[in-house]
Subunit: 209 residues, 2 copies
């Protein structure tokens, strides 16, 4: 089947046996079950996109059970992510998507309007947190609303912490507040290593929109 | 509508006007269109998940046009991401998913078998790269196959660079090779800031599987 020397194959096998023992022990040590508070932050791409990818995990579970619906509340963006919204429409009522933001804050240029929009979005988020059919709630760009003080940080964190057991919440957006990171179970920072915009390549269909 | 002082509102407006001018100028400066070579790497979560989220962008485009199908080749994982696979089945023939890996390398413990599996997966990837109905190709965990030298790096990079115009390719997996980062248009590193495993919380349905 191959020309790999027996010695090398044995070495590989021994190394991987060791690795497997470590992995298995690690998995066995984790026993607690709970809904997670997840934060995707950083200046890189993929924060919202990974959240929508997580939605697929929930939607891949058998339909009709408690917690197999997905809620999305968009706090800031409206124009972006419309293709994902269109695609998730394939799952019908299993995805409940609310675009509450008025667009980027540098598009609206109106603080009162942005604050009011963030408050409406937060009220919708609270409504969905109470809905037991929902297993995953994506609060898209909530970090931006918090950064600009459109919403009181203390209130938001207290409510997220008091969420019902079993509900996963994903908060996206750059510049996550330290208090939110402190409260979260899982935080990933998306770091930009290299971007095609730097090379003069424009926003691409299928990638940026 | 609000109790924001006029002065503060005006200051906000002026700041955002400035910000908008910068954004608009930046967008206008990007003119090139091309399929992108994208790499998701790093030890954090969300590398594959963000790739599957990108799939939704392609699938949200109107059906039937060239480049609106998605290909997935899984080089290493088999057991994970089955929920995403089940969910993407909702899009029928628009998603072509091939799980070619035999599982994690520390599960198989067999170098010859892993090398042969990686070769078969790469041949499938080449086949999908030639298929013009596909607009986005996800090479899931290819970085792992490259890291363990299951495939020759030079051959892989040359083929990826020579891909047809308009095809987006996403390569996932930690420890991306520097030569691949060099060849890529867009590289995001997912950095682990905080993980619930550390707090003894186990892999959660809807998040890890």
């Amino acid at each position: 089947m191959s020309d790999i020397p027996a010695e090398e194959a044995a070495r590989h096998r021994a190394k991987m046996e060791k690795r497997k023992a470590v992995q298995d022990a690690e998995v066995a040590s984790k026993t607690q079950e709970k809904g997670l508070l997840i934060v995707h932050t950083g200046a890189g791409k993929g924060k919202s996109t990974a959240a929508f990818g997580l939605a697929l995990r929930t939607l891949g579970q058998p339909e009709g059970q408690a917690g197999t619906r997905v809620g999305v509340v968009q706090f800031i963006k409206g124009a972006w992510h419309s293709a994902e919204r269109d695609a998730l429409a394939a799952f019908g009522a299993r995805v409940e998507w609310h675009t509450m933001g008025e667009g980027f804050t540098w598009e609206t240029q109106d603080l009162a309007r942005d604050t009011a929009a963030a408050r409406r979005a937060w009220e919708k988020a609270c409504e969905l947190m109470a809905d037991e059919s929902i297993g995953l709630l994506i609060l898209d760009e909530l970090n931006i609303a918090l950064r600009y003080d459109y919403l009181p940080l203390d209130e938001v964190i207290a409510t997220l912490k008091a969420r019902r057991e079993g509900l996963h919440v994903v908060v996206t957006g750059r510049n996550a507040k330290p208090a939110l990171i402190e409260a979260a179970d899982l935080v990933t920072e998306m770091t930009l290593v290299k971007h095609h915009f730097k090379a003069g390549v424009k926003a691409q269909k299928g990638i940026e929109f």
